[in-house]
Amino acid sequence: MNAISDRLAPGRLLGPEGWRRRRTLIGMGYALPTAIMVAVFFIVPLLLVVQMSASDWTLLSGDRGLNVPENYADLGSGRLFWPAVEFTIRYTLIVTVLLIALGLLMALVVQESGRWSGMLRTVFLLPLAVGLAAASLLFWGFYSNSIGPLNPMLQGAGLIESPISFLGTPTNALMSTVFLIVWKFAGFYMLILLVGLQSIPRDIYESAALDGAGRWSTFRHITLPLLRPALALSLILAVTGSLLAFDQFFLLTKGGPDNTTVTIVQLIYREAFQLQDLGKAAAISIVLLVALLALNALWFRSLRKPATE
């Protein structure tokens, strides 16, 4: 980096104009690695996936020419496509509501400083450090009838007669995965909402207390409205993350039972690497990308609008 480091103090040899031009060039030099990374690993693949989505492109033979309407037109005819879309949306709704509700509750619990709050904060954040794949494999054993602790505990407490198959029915498989995700990510939403809570000025609460506002009414009329930006960020992240769910279903439920827990990203993976049709996989990816962009655009528009209060 010494090549672009200048050894000149401002205006020592160059006039102000030359100094400014020199700083412009140096700034571009520092931004160059970012530009290269973004171009090579983001812009080029993005253009390539658009091209692939319009091509007959297989895993083994590569590009075999244009295949324009087919890749997209055939999308809906796949046996798993609409069930996967429906399942992904259903999963997203459940997970988003639970993550934000629990994250908010946890943030409210740990927002005071103190030893107990600090310990709780660390405990709630711990699952965040465990990778999603590792957590999925952990829960795969946790829910199993062979070594899982839940059935023996529930039976010991006399709560159930016969063992529950946690991954055996479509509903159980969905709910077991939802529990895994809430366990793993609730701490993350707690963190976002905690940052939001701490940016609310103390004196607002003090003046509310002077006005005789109760706990619930303070929460309803002060905390929630002022938490709007942090809640909006949580909503965007939870929805986007859930719509792109893959690891948890690939590793924990394996899409089963009977393909009832197949998500859109799993469909992309199957199309590309099991059916070896990269063109069609690219087409599904583009549809997913456009859907996410539209969703985000919608949100940003609604966020821009002044709060209606």
């Binding site: 010494n2 672009i4 480091s5 200048d6 050894r7 000149l8 103090a9 401002p10 700083r23 412009t24 060039l25 140096i26 700034g27 571009m28 520092y30 931004a31 690695p33 970012t34 990374m37 690993f41 983001f42 812009i43 993005l46 390539l48 996936v49 709780l120 660390t122 709630f124 954040l125 711990l126 699952p127 450090a129 465990v130 990778g131 794949a133 590792a134 957590a135 494999l137 952990l138 829960f139 795969w140 054993g141 946790f142 062979s146 070594i147 366990w183 940052v195 939001g196 701490q198 690891d247 590793l251 992309i268 993976y269 590309a272 990269l278 996989a281 690219a282 990816s285 997913l288 990308l289």
Partner: protein
């Protein structure tokens, strides 16, 4: 004050119960990995038999750990180097295309991982980076850039300009200003960026699943998933939980150890953002 303590008891019970639910799966998997279980590496009594199974599986635990370490090192070093220089450029310099490049970097967040991995699978092959740990590390670094660049930009912007100017008057170049003045001032930000790049790279599963096909180059998450799928007959739950512990322990350790740094990194970001 006694009455206050009494009214607080239900909240202690509630939050304590929640804490136990959060800790239980982790504690259980640690115990399960050393517990006796038929058809695993640990049949009689407690012991490390399941970890021995991992040592002997395919290329061996040592190789998988090395692969994960290489990927993580490439990701962390690349992310830090690119985002420190980029963050410096965005925070302290004016140049044409600055806003477009910054928005372009943030736009990476909008594009699903799966959407980019399909073309990257083809592209990395043509670049000679197919089936390569370095190639995967670079892809993961690209995905860290939106967060890392944003974080470094707001961290550098928070450093008062007078500090740099006094160094410049003393004849320091822009790179010396970055190294001697700015970087020491943003250590929580650097640790936050480095830690999150490490966690993302160490734990990534989808990237290696698509980009790595040589069994000797598998990182840990992929190897453990393969181990589970390949076992003939009885499924080896014990070795799987041992693999979970090997994957989780370094992350948990770093996460707890570095907590005060990244909490500060986040909170300072909140004030500026």
């Amino acid at each position: 004050m006694k009455t206050a303590g009494w009214t607080r008891t239900p909240s202690y019970v509630l939050t304590g119960g929640l804490a136990i639910i959060f800790l239980f799966p982790l504690v259980w998997s640690a115990i399960a990995s050393v517990s006796p279980q038929p058809a695993t590496g640990q049949v009689d009594g407690y012991g490390l038999g399941n970890y021995v199974t991992l040592l002997e599986f395919q290329a061996g635990l040592g190789q998988f750990l090395l692969n994960s370490t290489i990927i993580s090192a490439v990701t962390v070093v690349t992310t830090l180097a690119v985002s420190i220089l980029g963050g410096y450029a965005f925070a302290k310099f004016a140049f044409p295309g600055k806003d477009i490049l910054f928005l372009g970097t943030l736009a990476i967040l909008m594009v699903p991982y799966a959407t980019l991995l399909i073309p990257l699978y083809v592209l990395l092959r043509t670049l000679g980076l197919g089936d390569s740990l370095v190639g995967l590390g670079l892809v993961l670094a690209m995905y860290q850039l939106p967060f890392a660049t944003y974080m470094m930009r707001i961290s550098f912007e928070a450093v008062p300009r007078e500090l740099e100017e006094s160094a410049m008057v003393d004849g320091a170049g822009t790179f010396q200003v970055l190294r001697r003045i700015l970087m020491p001032a943003v250590v929580p930000g650097l640790i936050t960026v480095g830690l999150f790049a490490f966690l993302a790279a160490w734990n990534d599963f989808f990237g290696p699943l698509i980009l790595i096909s040589d069994p000797d180059k598998q990182p840990l998450p992929l190897a453990i998933a393969v181990l589970r799928q390949q076992t003939m007959g009885a499924i080896d739950y014990g070795a799987t939980e041992a693999g979970v512990i090997v994957m989780a322990v370094p992350c948990l350790f770093l996460f707890v150890f570095l907590q005060r740094y990244y909490m500060r990194g986040f909170m300072s970001g909140a004030i500026k953002g």
